[in-house]
């Protein structure tokens, strides 16, 4: 008997040690994985608006501004170049833990054509896929997400997790040991500031009226997202956050808008109607794809007004201490940008 107790005790201690090591070595990517960590920490039923999509979303929407101007608790749960199927599973996951009034999804990923995320100048296909799948908590849904996001040879390792990040020992930073980035502490709500500043002469896509179809996989998962929101009785708003959009991309957005109209889902395209947000393409862009802090403030200001006018969203300031992290987040943002309150 004593022998078996010893064996079990050993296995437990071993499991503890391995878990500890995992915690340190895990990926903490700010563009897809870390937002989930902070999301899981949110108090139950505290988030009223959630934002999904690609880097357009996490660099274009600043929940601190939303709280500052309207007292709306928001969270940006997006990933780098996140394809629609990953967004589906992010939304699905979010709805397990929160009960938002409105979900806002940026439609940037609707024109993606690939079967799985591919290699680009920022990383291998594998590293791209990792960012949009590995952060999810272990569940059957995660297995479904992994299956649809990756070719068969990656799937087991993505589910196990450890094989993908065990070799990170030479790139560990403070955030790996504390669990939080210095720039993005515990109260972080998913907004990544793009600190660049470039001037762009953006194409006027308001005249682009042609239609181009989505890729079959993108279309399939776009419909799934619409269905999911209907099923869970959550209001969905589609948005195209300002960037240097091309005509070809706009053609796909036109198709998306057609579908949205059919399903009675509002779509706000800030690229075809520049008066909505009033982006100055000389001052408000970080690069040709993303807004900088000024641009994000304008965008969030606009979306805040839009949501306030069209949906029942209460001002939650001073109502409960479950919103403390939003207060902290707003103060942190204000101080970082020397704003006068």
């Amino acid at each position: 008997m004593k022998k078996y107790i010893k064996i079990i005790a050993f296995i437990l201690v071993l499991a503890l040690a391995v878990t500890g090591v995992c915690k340190i070595l895990k990926f903490k990517h700010v563009d897809g994985i870390y937002p989930l960590n902070r999301f899981y920490d949110l108090p139950e039923n505290s988030c009223d608006v959630m934002f999904f999509g690609t880097s357009h979303a996490f660099e274009g929407i600043n929940p601190a501004v939303l709280w500052r101007e309207h007292g709306i608790p928001g969270f940006v749960l997006a990933g780098s170049s996140q394809p629609l199927w990953s967004t589906y599973y992010y939304i699905n996951e979010a709805l397990k833990y929160q009960d938002p009034e409105v979900i806002v999804m940026d439609i940037d990923s609707t024109y993606y054509k690939d079967e799985y995320q591919v290699e680009d100048e920022l990383g291998t296909a594998y590293s791209r896929i990792v960012k949009n799948t590995i952060g999810l908590k272990l569940s059957l849904d995660k297995w479904e997400a992994v299956k649809v996001s990756s070719p068969p040879e990656y799937r087991l390792e993505l589910m196990l997790g450890f094989p993908t990040y065990h070799a990170r020992y030479n790139e560990l930073g403070v955030q790996d040991f504390t669990g939080a980035w210095e720039r993005y502490p515990d109260h972080w709500k998913g907004y990544c500031e793009h600190t660049g500043h470039q001037y762009f002469a953006a194409t006027d896509v308001s005249k682009a009226t042609d239609r181009k179809p989505m890729s079959p996989k993108a279309e399939e998962w776009f419909y799934k997202i619409l269905d999911l929101c209907e099923e869970k009785d959550v209001q969905l708003v589609l948005v195209s956050i300002p960037y240097c959009c091309t005509n070809v991309e706009q053609y796909v957005y036109n198709t998306v808008e057609d579908i949205a109209k059919e399903r009675g889902v509002p779509l706000v395209n800030c690229n075809t109607d520049r008066s909505l947000v009033g982006i100055d393409y000389g001052a408000d862009m970080g690069d040709d794809q993303h807004l900088n802090y000024k641009g994000a403030t304008k965008m969030t200001h606009f979306i805040g007004q839009y949501l306030k006018e069209n949906y029942e969203l209460e001002d939650k300031r001073g109502t409960s201490d479950i919103y403390d992290s939003w207060v902290e987040n707003e103060a942190f943002d204000a101080e970082a940008h020397n704003l006068i309150k």
Partner: protein
């Protein structure tokens, strides 16, 4: 399945657990099923081949024993020899077809300037065929030499041939050692389980942390256009390859021996700190021991060994090592490698009076530490020189490498961090060299005392720390996962 795979991590505990739960009488059946399952995970049709070799050698055992009972001594001997010859011919023919036909065809084609000998289809090399064929043939010889009675139970004999720990890359066991053990299973032994798991852990570190990491560097250098590499980098790659092939193969053997030990089965030691050898002959008593003793018992001695005069001894030695080279691979580089080792020993023998004279002249005394160091250094150099041929992709590469080491050493290129860092990151080099240091320390310690014995005698907290550290080292520093390209055991192509 590979030893360093997720499947094996599940396979082994299941097999061991059921082995100890099942009644002793049918445990061997479970092992047989598991072993065939293990083998068929590579390719189900391989099972047919191993079954064929099993059948042939099993029958040979029965027939030899029957022939031995005949009244007429002359006839009996002739018949016995016939069965041995048949067994060897058939099995070696199978081995030849799958392993050497392509090489032979290419060579004949080149010789006659034709394409006649090439077949229309690709011949896949079944994993482990060189190992289990030799193991099965040793049984034929052992029955012939009356070292053990023929095994009557075919399936039981099949377990001997296919026993999964050592099926794919050795150690090549003898029937007189393994068969009786498989026949007498015992209860789980805590000490054996601990020691076995420790040995497996060490083997996995050797394979996954050291060998696979070194392989990244060696493969990049040896697979490149070697004419463009500086001699210093080529030398480093060669020395590292010597460590890589040792850790890869010794690691695999350790995992095999450790896994068998968990099942209370003792397999033979396959490596004994080979780079501490004081002569080439000594090296071959420490390297791939199961193979060199196989060649000694089943090729060298039947050829006459050293009993038929010095010249014949040299010829026999040379033959054995050429065959050994060929056993390692169907390519001229392996033949040259084998021939080199044969030549080393022959020349070593011939030049002994010269060595003795030099020793007297320079006051180099036997038995002193400094002398041993000198002998080890010399042996190490000779062995690593031969490794150039073992690893080189073609013969011309080997000669280019040797040339560049001596004429284009270019130490500056070696220090040029940019070149080195293009192969692996600085952190990976650090891990590699720390691991090598640990390997050296472990080797030195094991010459003084039985390391595993010492570990399991320690107090609980220290034991557990060691076990957990081993697991963590493998998990963190092992070369697996998407950051690394998968690398199979080197000896899998044999």
């Amino acid at each position: 399945m590979n030893f360093n795979s997720y499947e094996f991590l599940v396979f082994l505990p299941v097999v061991v657990l059921l082995y100890f739960i099942l009644p002793k009488k049918i445990r061997w059946v479970w092992l047989l099923i598991s072993s065939y399952f293990f083998y068929m995970c590579w390719n189900a049709s391989y099972a047919l081949l191993i079954a064929t070799s099993t059948l042939i050698t099993w029958l040979s055992g029965l027939l030899i024993e029957r022939a031995g009972k005949k009244e007429d001594e002359k006839k009996s001997k002739r018949l016995k020899k016939l069965w041995v010859a048949l067994s060897f011919t058939l099995n070696l023919a199978i081995l030849f077809f799958f392993k050497y036909y392509g090489f032979a065809a290419e060579s004949l084609n080149a010789l006659f300037g034709v394409k006649f000998f090439t077949l229309n289809f690709d011949i896949l090399l079944p994993v482990g065929i060189s190992f289990y064929t030799f193991q099965a043939l040793s049984y034929t010889m052992d029955v012939y030499r009356k070292e053990l009675p023929a095994e009557k139970n075919f399936f039981f004999y099949a377990l001997f041939v296919s026993f999964f720990p050592q099926l794919v890359a050795g150690p090549i066991e003898r029937s007189s050692n393994l068969l009786p053990q498989l026949k007498t299973p015992s209860s789980p032994n805590g000490e054996n389980i601990r020691k076995g798991l420790l040995l497996m852990g060490y083997g996995l570190i050797q394979k996954m942390v050291i060998a696979d990491r070194i392989a990244i560097f060696v493969n990049t250098v040896y697979n490149s256009n070697v004419r463009m590499q500086s001699g210093s980098v080529l030398l480093l790659a060669t020395l590292l390859f010597g460590i890589q092939v040792y850790c890869d193969f010794c690691g695999y053997s350790n995992i095999a021996i450790g896994a068998a030990q968990v099942l209370n089965i003792k397999l033979m030691k396959n490596f004994n700190r080979p780079y501490f050898a004081v002569s080439i002959r000594d090296f071959w008593r420490r390297w791939h021991i199961s193979l060199s003793s196989w060649f000694k018992d089943y090729l060298y001695f039947p050829l006459g060994g050293s009993q038929k005069g010095t010249v014949r001894k040299y010829i026999n030695t040379f033959i054995v090592f050429i065959v050994s080279g060929l056993w390692h691979g169907a390519s001229f580089t392996y033949i040259v490698w084998g021939a080199l080792h044969g030549l080393y020993q022959i020349l070593g023998d011939i030049l002994r009076p010269v060595r003795n004279f030099l020793k007297k002249l320079l006051h180099i005394e036997d038995g002193r530490f400094a002398t041993r160091l000198l002998q080890m250094g010399t042996t190490y150099t000779l062995v690593n020189f031969a490794w150039i041929f073992f690893r080189a992709n073609k013969l011309s590469d080997a000669f280019t490498i040797i040339n560049r080491i001596f004429t284009n050493f270019n130490l500056a290129a070696f220090w040029a961090k940019r070149d080195m860092l293009s192969i692996m990151s600085g952190a990976e080099y650090k891990v590699m060299f720390i691991a090598l240091a640990v390997l050296l320390i472990a080797s030195l310690l094991s010459s003084r005392f039985n390391v595993r014995e010492r570990i399991i005698k320690q107090p609980l907290w220290l034991r557990w720390t060691v076990y957990i550290t081993i697991v963590l080292v493998i998990l963190i520093f092992g070369v697996y996962g998407p950051d690394y390209v998968a690398s199979d055991f080197i000896y899998f192509q044999f």
